[in-house]
Every structure is written in structure tokens, then in C-alpha cells.
Amino acid sequence: MLYIPCPHCGLRNETEFHYGSEAGVAYPDPNTVSDDEWSKYLHIRANPKGWLAERWLHFAGCGRWFNLWRNTITHEIGPAYLPFTKQPSSPEVIEKEDPNI
């Protein structure tokens, strides 16, 4: 049971949330995008082994969508952040940068 820091409500159990998708996937301009690029937008995701920024909905709380760093292997939870705010660095990057951790 993940423990997820909703930016509005604080730490809550996973059962209060719905998973959305990978965060930060730009919605292409439908008028200029090629079929190939549009198909990639629809179907291709990074799906990494490790840290991934994801979209979550706190449906049983504030009803707000937000973004969250989560490690897909260890299930560690990283920082949460609101849409249209600066994305915090991946926890992996932080680990590498900070020799004390």
C-alpha cells in the first residue's frame, strides 16, 4: 500500500488515488503533427525501470490531479508537484548529486 503525498491533502493511502499515466507527455498540435508522431503520443510511453514522473488523481480526497515521482522497481515515492509548476529533479539525480545520501 503506497503512501502518497498529495500536494493538497498530505500523506494518504494509495486506495484514495487513481493512477493516471506518465506525466509531462506533451499534447501535440493535432493540426501539424504527423501520423507517426500522433501515434507515438497515443501509444508510446517511456515505461522505465526506475524513477518515473506520473500523473495521479486524488479522487477520494481533493479531486485534484497532480504529478509524482515514483520508482517502478522499488516502489519508493519521490516528490509530488502540481501541473504547470517546475518539475523537481528525479530522486535518482538527487542521489547522484549529493554524495551524503
Binding site: Y3, H18, P30, D35, H43, F59, R64, W65, P83, F84
Partner: protein, 890 residues
């Protein structure tokens, strides 16, 4: 301790209140208690706790729990149990016991109240934290308790600390991400046996810090006939004898690989049992326990171990065959108790639940887990904190020939032997996970608590090249001990299993004899049978009323979303495939929404209540999904749009009044709206009153008939319904349910998203190109240009007329071309399937909707529907079966 009487297999015994049933049984002389599951061999008590593989009992009192180790259940007055052979049975009557559940948040959770856990509790309490301490025994102290030793005074102070919550008989069964633990707590059986209190409580615990100190299991050795009653783990044997005063054994042999055997030999000796000797697989030993054994003049034999046992007629242990590991010399010693110490196996189970890999420690001859971070820590034997002078040898038993291997049990409960293990390896299996599945070792009730490490050891003996480190442990999964399903269900059974959503009219429906169907969590009337009426008869009557007279339906479950804001119209234009910004105020429009991939997602009618105010309806099951979808776009893509979405499903009740006489009836009750055809056109909405109660009436039809949908505040809905019903008597107003609704809508070719679509249909596939706007951008539009959504062969929605007018094709039935041939793989390729299928009283025949490859280009084609040995024929036709000109709705 108080003497109490209890029953096993209908015989009355006495025991001491609170002691394990196993102790009482032994004291009563029951050495051989049950027979093994597959080999039918006599078995007796083997262990001391949840690791017990042999003696399981089924309660015939209390909650009738079907499989509990006799080492776990406590003796209580009135306890009644029966011994079982491997498999318990569920009681015939439902379990009426109550089970509790607690959600708990705490600073520190400590699992295990042994010395390590108690010491950790002391530290965390001193740091000012609240501590929850759970332990599966009925008292604190762990091994100290088994040794009958008093707890040190600093520990007793810990136990009375105001910030400590100590739960005995409370076993952690699962460890999950971010310090989440599920535990079950058994109540004192003495207090609950004969009443209906909650017997077992489930704890859901989230802790800032966890200290995992579960201790260790002693492991046995692999030798021939190692399963005889009288062969026990040495720690268990000495505890039963010394602590629980079991005095049925006369002569004991202790076989060991570590100093634990010496400590147990002393205890047995001090309790008056003649210890014939200690047979130590090591070549030397030292330490205080060794000195104590020497002082007690118990003979010690090095490089020796047990090879085999000899039994009495009842199978209990009579003598032990010892082998010198160097000279291979063998000899017999008479003994009715063989105490075996094969080293300690720390309980790594819970740690592996969160994917921690136990580390092999040669020093401990065991897998240990040494985690020590800010939030999660292991302690005690799990962390490798063994008694100072344990000095174990990595040894699992002597070399055995095939005949001996047949009776050398690794998993006592599964009756899996060393012979079975060799066969598995001989068959080419080398992964321990594969061997587990081939031999079934570790798959019983005890989940390999004593057999797991033996398997690893036996594999190392078979192949001297590999070490336990390379083999690794088995994967353990929750629950750590068996848990009755009833406990996990708790109070959430029967009516409380899932929330039930009902409309304000539910009571009326019940009183009127409605048969209900579940639509998500909603209870919806399916049909309203008159006394003696069958479903088909009721539905036929309801359909006829709607098409020829007047009928009424509760449509309150429709999802309703109030959408307001300066950009509401623009927002709907982007969400729906069709235009909403040009919808005049006071009018309604049917809308279809797609996901970005162009696939139809939901549909419904949206009414424009004001310039910046809309009321959207969604499918009953889609309300939450649609709201989440709208919010996702508003919050993550279009934050510039000023739009607010509010779920009002349970604020507004909807009543559908359907049929040619509906205008007349309604007009008699609604004085402030002119319902005439010209004054109130189709797809218009008007506000008015019925008996002074505000209502909003819309000319929306989900049947093709003249129809009115009346929206009214949830609380007034029953009044309005009853008013319509009473007034409708003269018109023979008929209540109808979802089945009739389906027939009526299917006759008109109106789709149900999710029934007539399977998640692959575009609006074009549904023959709804008319609803796709060419003038504006909307979600999913770009996808219609993709080659695969334009390709031939896509499943498209069509109507189906069966050749036999009275036969209703089952929904989901496959459709093939006529005279389809069988292909090379023996199959008949299908071209589609039936999505909706009913009998239509209006048409006087059966009909269906179907998704068929290129269906829209196959009008008039005869197709076959194979149904087992039978085959039906049918004609592909347009999906609109009645009133193609839409004349009836006015």
C-alpha cells in the same frame, strides 16, 4: 495456572489455562496424535509455535476455525477440537462470529516482543515516540519466556510505559511498501470461546519507523524416519519438558550442530530426563553451555549424528541409530525422545515481502537480513544477533541411500522426502522455485517454515559446487500464517460487502415487486412482474405500454455533471465530437465523447441551462470516469479555461415518462409549461412546477416515443413519482425497468457504450458520422486520420434479424459467413458478434445489434450464427428497426 478441561476428538482432557494445546496433549501422554496427509504415518508434536507442521486441529467450538497448529491454540475451558489429517473442512453453518478491523497510525511499530524487540521499544520510547509492539505469543519475552526466565527490570518498565501499546497474540502477516503492515490479533480464547465477541481483529498499520525482530525457527535435520512421534526440535522438547512440565519422556538423545543442543540437553537433564548423550556433528565444541553439559556428566560425542530411528508398534520413537560421520560406524541407543537441533533459521519471511533479499551468512549458517535505515530496521536473530556461543555447523544430515531417503522427510506436512527432492533434481530442475513446485515442499499450511532451509541444505549436499548463497531463499508472500477469509472480510460481509446505491424511489420499487439488477453499485429495477408473471411476459407488457400507452421509469442513476463557467461551452466543444457552443439556452443535445485515440468513451444528453451553464448526463456506470476525464483535461492541459465541474448525480432525480399518452398525462399536472408539440419542441428543456415543486422537464427520448424526462430535486422525487403514478391510473400507467428500456432503445438502434461497443469503435464504426464535427477541434479527432481507423474490416454496428422470428440469439454469440468453411487449424473464422439481442413486441419478432467486420457494407447479407451443434441464420440490416423517420417522438 488454573486447571481447565478441554476436548480433543470427543475425549476430555485437562490442561492449564493459557498453555499451548500441544503442551497439554503431551502432558496427557499423546505422543502420536495424527496421521500424515499422504503417507498416513503417525505424527506427533514437532515444534513450538507457528512452524508446527504435524499436529493441526480443527475447532469444534467458537468460530470453528479449520486448521490451527496445536502449538498455537491456547487451552481454555470448553475448548473443543478435533485432530485433522492435513486438511481441515469448512463448517457447514456460516461463521456468525464477529471480526474487527483497526486502522492505526503510529510513530514506531515493533514486530516481535523478544529481547531485541523490547530493547528497541525502550530506545524508541526514550526518543519520545509512541510505540506499538506486536508479538504472536501470549506474553512478552520471546525465548526468555520459553526458558521460564524472569524479564530484566528495565524491560518490565518498558511494558508499563504510557506510550507503549503492547498487543499479545498479534501476528504480522504482511509487510508492504512505505512501512505498511497488516497484522491479526487473536483475543484470549478464555474470554471469547463461548460468546460472540470479535475473535480476531485485523490491524492495518502505517508506521513512521518499523523494527522487525521476529526471531528465528529452529530447524530439523534430514535422516531416515525423522518423522516419528517423539522426534522433536530440541528447543521445543526442552520447553515442553522444563516450562510446561511434560513428564512423559524417559530417555532422550540430543542431536545437534550447534550449542543450542547443549542448552536444551541441560534443561532436559535438569527436568529429570535421562539424557543418553549429545551427538554433535561438529568435531569440537566450547562455551558455557558445553561446560554445563560436561558438569552434568552428559556424554558428548563429536562427528556423530542421527542416521535413522526405530519405532514402537504405534510408530513412536523407540531407539535412535547414530552414525559416526568419520568412521561410518553405527550403533543403537534406546530413547523415546530425540531432540534435534539443526541450527537457527531467522524468520526472513516478512522482510522478503518488500523484496529485501536475505544475505547468506556462513558464520550463522543461515540467511539473515541486516537492514538499518532511518525508517526500517531489523533486530535480533533476523539481523544476525545470535547467542554468543552458538557456533553452528552448516550441516543438514548424514548421507543417505535411496531407501533411507524415502523416509527422510523434508516437508512433514506435505510428506515430501529427500527421495522426492533427488527425483526433482534428477529430472533436471535446479531452481529452488521449480523444485518447490515439483516436490510441493513449502506449499502446505506452514509454508515451509521448517522445510525451506532444509531444502536449500539438501540441494547443497547433492551438488557440492553450490552454496546456499547461490541458491537463495524461497519467495515468501503474505500472509505469514494462514488467516481465515472471514477475518479479512471483517464486518464487510453480506449487505455490507459493497456499498449499495439506491435512488429515492427504491422503496417504491421494492413495494411494487420490482426485480432488481446491479448496475455498478446501483440497484435498478430490472422489470416489474405482476403476480405470476414471468420475465418475458412482464417485459412484453412494459414494452407495449411504452409504445402504445404510457410508461414510467426511474432514470435517477444517470450520471449528472453540472458544468459552469465562462468557458463551459468552449470546453464542451473540445470534449464532445459534436458542437455545443451553438446550442441555444433551454435546449438539449445528444453528445458523444472519444478518448484521444478516437475510440468512443461515453455518451449522453447535455442541456444548456444558461449561457455559461450546462447539465451533462453520462451513462450510469460512466459518471465517475467521465468526471475524472473532464477534470484531467481542465487541470493538466487547459488550466486557462474557466470551467467548474460538479457531480450532481445524487442531487437530481430523473423520471422518464414515455409513450403516446405522456403529454396528456403530464399536461394535467404541469400548469406552467405548455407541453404542446409546437410550444415545446423535441430536445428542448423547460422549468416549471408540479404541485408547486420545481421541476425541469426535457423532451428527451431514449425509446423513440414521445417522452418527457422530469428532473427534480432528489428529496422531492418520490412525491413527484407517486403523484404521476396516482394520476396515471386512469391511463394504465405502467412502471418499467432496465430490460424494457434496453428493448426500446435497441429497437431504435440507440447504443449503450460498453455493450454495443467493445473499446475499439470510432463514431464512424457506429454509423454516427453525423455527430462528428468537421468545423472544430475535439479530443480524438486527429486519430480519425490514422490509417488503421480508416482501414477496411473494422467492426461496425449493424442490425440483425434472425430467420426464426421467435428465437432470441444469445448476446455475445459469434457470427460467421454462411456456409463458412473450417480453416486449416480446425476453426471457423468469425466476422463479428452479437452485442444486444431481444424479442420486440412492437416488431413481433426477435432482433439484435451486432458488431460485424465491414458491417455497414454488408446490408442484406445472410450470415450464420453457430451455437454448439445448432446453427441460426440471420440477415444483416440497418440498426434502426422502428420509425426511421422519427415521427413518433413528437
Amino acid at each position: 495456572m488454573t486447571e481447565v478441561s478441554f476436548k480433543l476428538d470427543d475425549k476430555v482432557y485437562t490442561g492449564k489455562k493459557g498453555e499451548p494445546l500441544a503442551a497439554a496433549l503431551l502432558r496427557n501422554g499423546l505422543i502420536s496424535i495424527t496421521n500424515s496427509t499422504y503417507h498416513d504415518r503417525p505424527r506427533g508434536i514437532f515444534g513450538l509455535g507457528v512452524e508446527e507442521p504435524n499436529v493441526l486441529v480443527q475447532l469444534v467450538s467458537g468460530n470453528m476455525e479449520s486448521m490451527i497448529p496445536a502449538t498455537v491454540i491456547e487451552v481454555a475451558e470448553g475448548l473443543a477440537a478435533r485432530s485433522i489429517t492435513g486438511v481441515g473442512s469448512l463448517p457447514e453453518l456460516p461463521d456468525e462470529s464477529k471480526y474487527g478491523k483497526i486502522n492505526h497510525y503510529v510513530d514506531t511499530l515493533i514486530i516481535g516482543a523478544g529481547i531485541a524487540g523490547l530493547t528497541a521499544a525502550d530506545e524508541h520510547l526514550k526518543a519520545g515516540r509512541e510505540v506499538l509492539l506486536i508479538d504472536d505469543q501470549n506474553g512478552p519475552g520471546g525465548h526468555l519466556r520459553h526458558l521460564g526466565l524472569e524479564l530484566p527490570s528495565y524491560i518490565t518498565e518498558v511494558l508499563t510505559h504510557q506510550n507503549l501499546n503492547y498487543r499479545k497474540r498479534c501476528t504480522a502477516i504482511g509487510l508492504y511498501d512505505q512501512n505498511y503492515v497488516v497484522a491479526i490479533e487473536r483475543k484470549d480464547p478464555n474470554s471469547i470461546l463461548n460468546n460472540k465477541q470479535a475473535l480476531i481483529r485485523v490491524w492495518h498499520i502505517r508506521a513512521d519507523h518499523i523494527v522487525l525482530a521476529p526471531g528465528a525457527f529452529q530447524r530439523p535435520l534430514i535422516f531416515a524416519n525423522n518423522d516419528r512421534p517423539g522426534v522433536m526440535l530440541s528447543h521445543a522438547a526442552s520447553t515442553y519438558v522444563a516450562l510446561y512440565k511434560v513428564n512423559i519422556f524417559k530417555k532422550a538423545v540430543v542431536v545437534t550442530v550447534d550449542n543450542q543442543g547443549y542448552r536444551d540437553a541441560i534443561r532436559l537433564h535438569q527436568s529429570g530426563i535421562q539424557v543418553e548423550g549429545i551427538y554433535d556433528a561438529r568435531s569440537e565444541s566450547s562455551g558455557s553451555s558445553v561446560d554445563a553439559v560436561k558438569a552434568a556428566k552428559i556424554p558428548i560425542h563429536f562427528s556423530s549424528t542421527v542416521l535413522d530411528t526405530i519405532g514402537n508398534e504405534d510408530g513412536t520413537c523407540k531407539a535412535v541409530i547414530i552414525q559416526n560421520l568419520k568412521t561410518k560406524e553405527r550403533f543403537h541407543i534406546d530413547a523415546d525422545l530425540l531432540a534435534v537441533s539443526g541450527g537457527w533459521t531467522p524468520i526472513v519471511d516478512l522482510a522478503t515481502h518488500i523484496a529485501i533479499k536475505p544475505q547468506w551468512s556462513q558464520e550463522h549458517a543461515a540467511f539473515i537480513v541486516n537492514e538499518n535505515n532511518d525508517k526500517f530496521k531489523t533486530a535480533g536473530m533476523l539481523a544476525g544477533d545470535f547467542e554468543d556461543d552458538d557456533d553452528p555447523l552448516l550441516f543438514f544430515g548424514p548421507e543417505l541411500d535411496h531407501e533411507q531417503a524415502r523416509s527422510a522427510y523434508i516437508d512433514l506436512q506435505r510428506d515430501s522426502t529427500l527421495y522426492d527432492l533427488r527425483r526433482a533434481v534428477g529430472a533436471g530442475l535446479n531452481s529452488i522455485e521449480h523444485i518447490k513446485r515439483y516436490t510441493t515442499i513449502g506449499t502446505a499450511h506452514d509454508q515451509g517454515k521448517t522445510s525451506g532451509m532444509l531444502t536449500i541444505g539438501a540441494l547443497c549436499q547433492l551438488n557440492k559446487e553450490v552454496s546456499p548463497a547461490e541458491i537463495g531463499t524461497l519467495s515468501f508472500r503474505p500472509p505469514y500464517i494462514p488467516v481465515p477469509f472471514a477475518v479479512l472480510a471483517g464486518r464487510e460481509r453480506g449487505e455490507l460487502h459493497d456499498p449499495v446505491r439506491i435512488t429515492p424511489l427504491h422503496g417504491w420499487h421494492v413495494e411494487s415487486g420490482a426485480i432488481f439488477e446491479d448496475v455498478g453499485q446501483w440497484k435498478r429495477p430490472w422489470y416489474f412482474p405482476k403476480p405470476g408473471e414471468k420475465m418475458e411476459e412482464a417485459v412484453r407488457r412494459e414494452c407495449i405500454a411504452a409504445r402504445n400507452g404510457i410508461a414510467i421509469m426511474d432514470a435517477s442513476t444517470l450520471g449528472k455533471i453540472d458544468i459552469e463557467g465562462a468557458d463551459a461551452a468552449e470546453f464542451l466543444d473540445r470534449i464532445y465530437t459534436n458542437m455545443f457552443s451553438n446550442l441555444p439556452v433551454g435546449q438539449c443535445r445528444y453528445g458523444l465523447m472519444c478518448k484521444t485515440d478516437g475510440i468512443v468513451f461515453d455518451d449522453g444528453v447535455t442541456t444548456r441551462l444558461g449561457k455559461n451553464h450546462f447539465l451533462m448526463t453520462t451513462t450510469t456506470g460512466g459518471a465517475a470516469r467521465v468526471l475524472a476525464w473532464l477534470e484531467e483535461w481542465l487541470q493538466t492541459e487547459w488550466p486557462d479555461l474557466k470551467v467548474y465541474c460538479t457531480s450532481v448525480t445524487e442531487h437530481i432525480s430523473t423520471i422518464a415518462l414515455v409513450g403516446p399518452k405522456s403529454r396528456q398525462l403530464l399536461q394535467e399536472l404541469v400548469k406552467d409549461i405548455d407541453l404542446s408539440k409546437d410550444a415545446f419542441p423535441f430536445m428542448h428543456s423547460r422549468a416549471g412546477t408540479i404541485d408547486g415543486i420545481p421541476v425541469r422537464i426535457a423532451r428527451i427520448s431514449f425509446s423513440g416515443e414521445l417522452a418527457f424526462e422530469i428532473n427534480v430535486a432528489w428529496a422531492y422525487s418520490l412525491y413527484i413519482w407517486k403523484r404521476l403514478w396516482a394520476h396515471g391510473k386512469q391511463y394504465d400507467l405502467t412502471a418499467y425497468g432496465t430490460e424494457t428500456m434496453h428493448v426500446l432503445r435497441a429497437e431504435k438502434g440507440y447504443i449503450i457504450v460498453g455493450q454495443d461497443t467493445d473499446g475499439t469503435q470510432t463514431p464512424y464504426d457506429l454509423n454516427m458520422s453525423w455527430i462528428v464535427s468537421k468545423k472544430k477541434e475535439f479530443i480524438g479527432k486527429r486519430s480519425f486520420q490514422l490509417s488503421y481507423l480508416k482501414a477496411k474490416g473494422r467492426h461496425q454496428l449493424v442490425g440483425i434479424l434472425p430467420e426464426d422470428k421467435n428465437e432470441v440469439i444469445p448476446e455475445g454469440a459469434y457470427i460467421t459467413v454462411q456456409n463458412a468453411s473450417v480453416d486449416s487449424s480446425g476453426r471457423t473464422p468469425h466476422i463479428g458478434f452479437i452485442t444486444s439481442s431481444y424479442y420486440s413486441p412492437e416488431l413481433g419478432r426477435s432482433f439484435a445489434l451486432a458488431l460485424i467486420a465491414d458491417g455497414l457494407n454488408r446490408m442484406g447479407e445472410l450470415v450464420a450464427i453457430p451455437l454448439g451443434k445448432k446453427q441460426m441464420k440471420a440477415l444483416i440490416c440497418d440498426a434502426v428497426f422502428i420509425d426511421k423517420e422519427n415521427t413518433r417522438r413528437d
